[in-house]
Amino acid sequence: MITLSLRGVRGGVGTSSTLAALGHALHELGQKVLLVDMCPENSLGLHFNMDLAPREGWARATLDQQPWHEQAWVVEPGLCVLPYGQLKPSEVFALDALLIEQPKLWTQRQIALAKGFDWILFDLPQRLPGHVSSPHCRISMMVINPDAACHVLLQPQLAQTPLFLVNRFDAASQLQRDLLLIWQQRYAHALVPVNLHADEAMGEALARSEPAGRYAPASLIALDIISLASWCLLRGRRPA
């Protein structure tokens, strides 16, 4: 079993969409995949035509001392989504404190899940240090957009995240090309060698409540995601 997490360098870089699409692509490549929503917004399921913000989820269950693993939804055989559940803002902080207190919580859960899944993908939130640090992942990627703001944010981030994933790259933009060149130069080993291109199909996919690979399988973004999934498979196979 291989664990992978995605986290945006800031909000709105397309983390959840990418995670949903990546989960779908890995599943297409014959893998059993579990997607875990670690964000209090609780909206990952929307990509798989599930209800908006379901009440039940792993966070809800953890706080209520319920069995957390019963909350997962089966989208297709071998592709499951574990929602966050509805929490009040105060409860979110309480849970975060709990996660900091018990840093092994998700590690134990991952071991428990190892038999059922080949891949567990975590959609990490922006802040909430407990949520962010709790799952220990083999592959952790930070999603960035090629713009100057992300470039500024990247400066102090280097030490924490081993991998950067560029999303919404538009090769027609001079600035984006330049930024990518700088990153390729500067973070040669940290940059995932697959860039996700800006493609209208990615936005439309969510509006259709589908992951991009299912909504527009012939699109460039679908190919990019498949490339990313293949790259992850190769990397996951490598001894850590």
Partner: protein, 866 residues
């Protein structure tokens, strides 16, 4: 029922047969039904396969000749093995006979296979003993070893001389050549270079023996005319023998040089002046070269690009200023290209000089691959890379061999230059090369005395102790000559120039060259003297058929026993050495086309090198429609008429000549027919095929993506490109109107580039984009993403088929026939009217010939259009 048994009225009605024909055919069918029980299942099964077994009769209206055609075809079917014969009767009998024959063959084949397999594994099984032996050998003291070397050499030489000079009778010669041939066939299967050398030795022995025999026992000294004809042929044969031997030396050990690594610190890299000489070429052609040159990966402050315009054209000057390169023009154009380069050198001071003809687009890796050797070897004066052509030359275009057969240059740049490099004799070819500035200065600039300044310059460099290198990595591509006349004109210039050098600065004489350098240069120059010998071969058998001259004064059987081994061994050896770079017999066609045209200028240049200004044939433009180049083909038409007359004489001699000459006549006839077909192939080249487009499309397989105006993007595959557009293959069809804007995303290395073009065509999953409106800086990027890629020309030979001499011979002969057919198509109308009845007779006779049954039912497939 009646209509089935006696289909008279159906034949009359549906097939328009005459009463007589319909009656006879119907009668035959009726007899068949009566006597053969055609309704039985076996006959039914056979009838169902009618279309497959009788393909030429299936859709043909019935005529009176059909019973004969059926009979011939049925006999044929019974005699030959058909692709799918399960349902046919008499199968068991055939199987039994086949088994008998295979068993018979196996008796011979099994030991042969065992033997040849043993030979194939010989190197691996022997290697321990060989290493042990070589250890032992190394431990012997030098004087003793030297003595042994000399002794072995003398012994081998004595044996070889014996093999060459010993006169043999018919039987002894037969045994001798069969033994040598078997040895060659066994050695052929062994891998490695040593067996190649062994094959060369065998071929040299057989060829030398042939020539020895020719000189000593085949000249008729009693008849002056016979002697003159015989000597002429013998001189021509000596020439080919010499070329064969020199070629073996030249290409026996190709060097396969790899690039030398540059220092990591780019400040140590030398300064390069890149010269693009131009005279009358169009700006549109030159632009691509300049864009590609601008994309070469070399520090900008160390690469200076100069456009040397001998035409002094304002448009070139403006263009040079636009893209920011240096423009050099001069007032006169003395000494043509060499003068142009020398004039520019006076104004430049870089360490190295790279030269690209204005239609040769360099790849971006050119300098990083070539310059390393200059740093490693301080005496290195020149690094040459292959000339690759992205458009078909007239031969390839008119014969349809582009991208599937190696062309004329392939042998030279694939093998000969690499062989030359072994002997430090790789020479300069005028373009796609880089030279050391101090070396050029030391010989006083590029040589201006001859019309081939490139080879002459290289010769001078070698004479002055400089070395040269050849790197067999295609790092530039250019346009081939457009028309046959232009192509021939270019070859005339080369031939004349090389012969001029041979006379004025003979590589065999003079100082400063090693023996092998002399051989390589001599071969390169002698090669262009092929014109006269080739013409001699094309007419030699006529001397006997027309004038009854004994050109080879020996029994026909002896001639065959000597000449066939000579040809077979040469062909086997060359096929092994050059198989990847040329196809056997195709070279004959190239030579035949050029023979007449280079014969005169080379002969004149040989006797008075400074005389004779043969104007280069005017450069033809684009072939707007199919046409036949009568002017160029004229000599070959005359030659073919002569050979055809020779055939007539042969028939006359067969019937009225002396009995004992019949075999000689037959041999001559075979020779004449071979000549006729080779000439036919040459004639086929003269039928110029229309060029469809202005710009040349390069086939490729490059990943890319398209982005539409609405923000959707789709992956695609770049299948072809030219300087004005691309062809793309998508994974699904796009519903887009022609003229809509589409952006193409291309990758080069890690970087992506976007080019916005307009949709020009869309057919299912294939679309075409035009980039006519790109701004200049994007055009540079586009050239760098396509023509300028480091790997753009590496797999040009992936479509080549391996050389199979027999297959190749068949193709050439078929081509010869096609050549005459093409000629017929272009003949004036009145000749065709006259010829038509004869052609009809031939066609009618041909319709009786049996056909090979088709293995699968013919389904008409849509021909893909692009």
């Amino acid at each position: 029922m009646i209509s089935r048994w006696f289909p008279y009225s159906r034949l009359r009605r549906e097939q328009n047969c005459t009463r007589f024909t319909a009656f006879i055919l119907a009668l035959i069918q009726a007899l068949g039904w009566i006597f053969l029980r055609l309704e039985s299942p076996r006959w039914q099964a056979l009838r169902e396969q009618h279309r497959r077994l009788y393909p030429h009769l299936a859709d043909k209206p019935s005529t009176i000749g059909d019973p004969l055609r059926y009979t011939v075809q049925t006999l044929w079917l019974l005699l030959v093995r058909t692709p799918n014969q399960n349902q046919i009767g008499r199968q068991r009998f055939r199987q039994r006979t086949a088994r008998f024959f295979t068993a018979l063959l196996m008796i011979v084949q099994r030991p042969w296979n065992l033997l040849s397999n043993a030979f194939a594994h010989l190197p691996t099984t022997l290697s321990p003993q060989v290493t042990k032996g070589s250890h032992w050998w190394d431990n012997i003291q030098w004087p003793l070893r030297k003595g042994l070397y000399i002794a072995m050499g003398v012994l081998a030489l004595a044996l070889i001389v014996l093999c060459i000079t010993e006169p043999f009778g018919f039987l002894a010669q037969l045994v001798f050549v069969v033994l040598l041939w078997m040895l060659a066939m066994l050695v052929r299967r062994m891998p490695g270079r040593f067996p190649t050398l062994l094959l060369i030795v065998l071929s040299v022995i057989v060829s030398c023996r042939y020539l020895w025999w020719r000189y000593t026992s085949t000249l008729n000294w009693n008849d002056t005319f016979d002697l003159i004809c015989g000597l002429t042929l013998l001189v021509a044969e000596t020439y080919t023998w010499l070329i064969l031997l020199l070629g073996y030396v030249q290409t026996s050990w190709p060097l396969n040089r790899k690039p030398a690594q540059l220092p990591a610190d780019t400040s140590q890299w030398p300064v390069v002046d890149l010269l693009i000489p131009t005279y009358n070429e169009e700006l549109s052609v030159t632009r691509g070269t300049v864009y590609a040159a601008l994309g070469i990966d070399w520090p900008k402050d160390k690469l200076r690009i100069h456009l040397l315009d001998d035409g002094n054209r304002p448009s070139f000057k403006t263009f040079a200023e636009e893209v920011g390169i240096n423009y050099i023009a001069r007032t006169d154009n003395r000494h043509a290209k060499a003068g142009n380069l020398n004039h520019a050198l006076k104004l430049l001071d870089g360490d190295l000089v790279a030269i690209f003809d204005c239609d040769h687009m360099p790849a971006r890796s050119f300098l990083q691959l070539t310059v390393g050797w200059f740093l490693r070897d301080p005496k290195l004066a020149l690094v040459q890379t292959p000339h690759h052509f992205l458009s078909p030359d007239p031969f390839e275009r008119n014969l349809g061999t582009f991208r599937n057969r190696p062309n004329e240059g392939e042998l030279f740049y694939g093998l000969i230059q690499d062989g030359n490099d072994m002997w430090n004799a790789a020479f300069f070819c005028g373009s796609c090369a880089i030279l050391r500035r101090t070396a050029i200065d030391s010989i006083g600039g590029f040589a201006v005395e001859t019309v081939t300044e490139d080879a002459h310059t290289a010769l001078r460099l070698h004479r002055n102790g400089w070395t040269s290198a050849y790197l067999r990595i295609p790092q530039a591509a250019g346009l081939a000559t457009e028309s046959l006349s232009a192509h021939i004109g270019q070859r005339i210039r080369w031939a004349r120039g090389m012969v001029q050098i041979f006379r004025t600065d003979n590589p065999l004489l003079g100082k400063g060259l090693t023996i092998f350098q002399r051989i390589c240069y001599t071969n390169a120059m002698m090669h262009f003297l092929v014109g006269l010998p080739r013409l001699v071969f094309l007419t030699a058998p006529l001397a006997f058929l027309f004038f009854h001259a004994y050109i080879i004064y020996a029994p026909a059987v002896m001639i065959l026993l000597y000449v066939l081994p000579h040809m077979i061994h040469a062909s086997l050896t060359n096929s092994r050495m050059q198989g990847a770079y040329r196809q056997t017999f195709w070279g004959e066609v190239y030579e035949t086309v050029l023979a007449w045209y280079i014969a005169r200028p080379t002969t004149v240049a040989l006797f008075s090198p400074s005389r004779g200004k043969f104007n280069v044939t005017a450069k033809g433009g684009m072939m707007e429609e199919n046409q036949f180049d009568w002017q160029t083909a004229k000599p070959y038409l005359i030659l073919s008429v002569l050979n055809a007359l020779g055939l007539g004489f042969a028939v006359w001699r067969l019937f009225y000549g002396p009995r004992d000459e019949i075999f000689t006549v037959i041999v001559s006839v075979l020779w004449v027919i071979y000549n006729l077909l080779i000439i036919g192939a040459a004639v086929a080249v003269a039928a110029e095929v229309r060029q469809v487009r202005n710009t040349h499309r390069v086939l490729a397989r490059l990943p890319g993506a398209v982005k539409l105006a609405d923000g959707h993007s789709y992956p695609c595959e770049l299948v072809d490109y030219s300087d004005g557009g691309v062809g793309l293959q998508l994974s699904q069809a796009l519903q887009l109107p022609v003229g809509s804007p589409v952006s193409l995303i291309l990758q080069r290395g890690n970087r992506e580039f976007v080019f916005t073009g307009t949709l020009t065509r869309s057919h299912e999953r294939f679309i075409g984009l035009s980039f006519a409106q790109l701004p200049p800086e994007e055009k540079i990027a586009f050239v760098q993403c396509t023509f300028g890629r480091a790997d753009a020309w590496l797999d040009h030979n992936s479509g080549f088929e391996a050389d199979k001499p027999i297959q190749s011979l068949k193709e050439i002969l078929a081509l010869g026939i096609k050549g005459y057919y093409r000629l017929y198509e272009y003949l004036p109308a009145w000749i065709r009217v006259l010829a038509k009845p004869f052609l009809h007779i031939f066609q009618w006779l041909g319709s009786f010939l049996p056909r090979m049954p088709t293995s699968t039912p013919l389904i008409s497939r849509p021909v893909s259009r692009s």
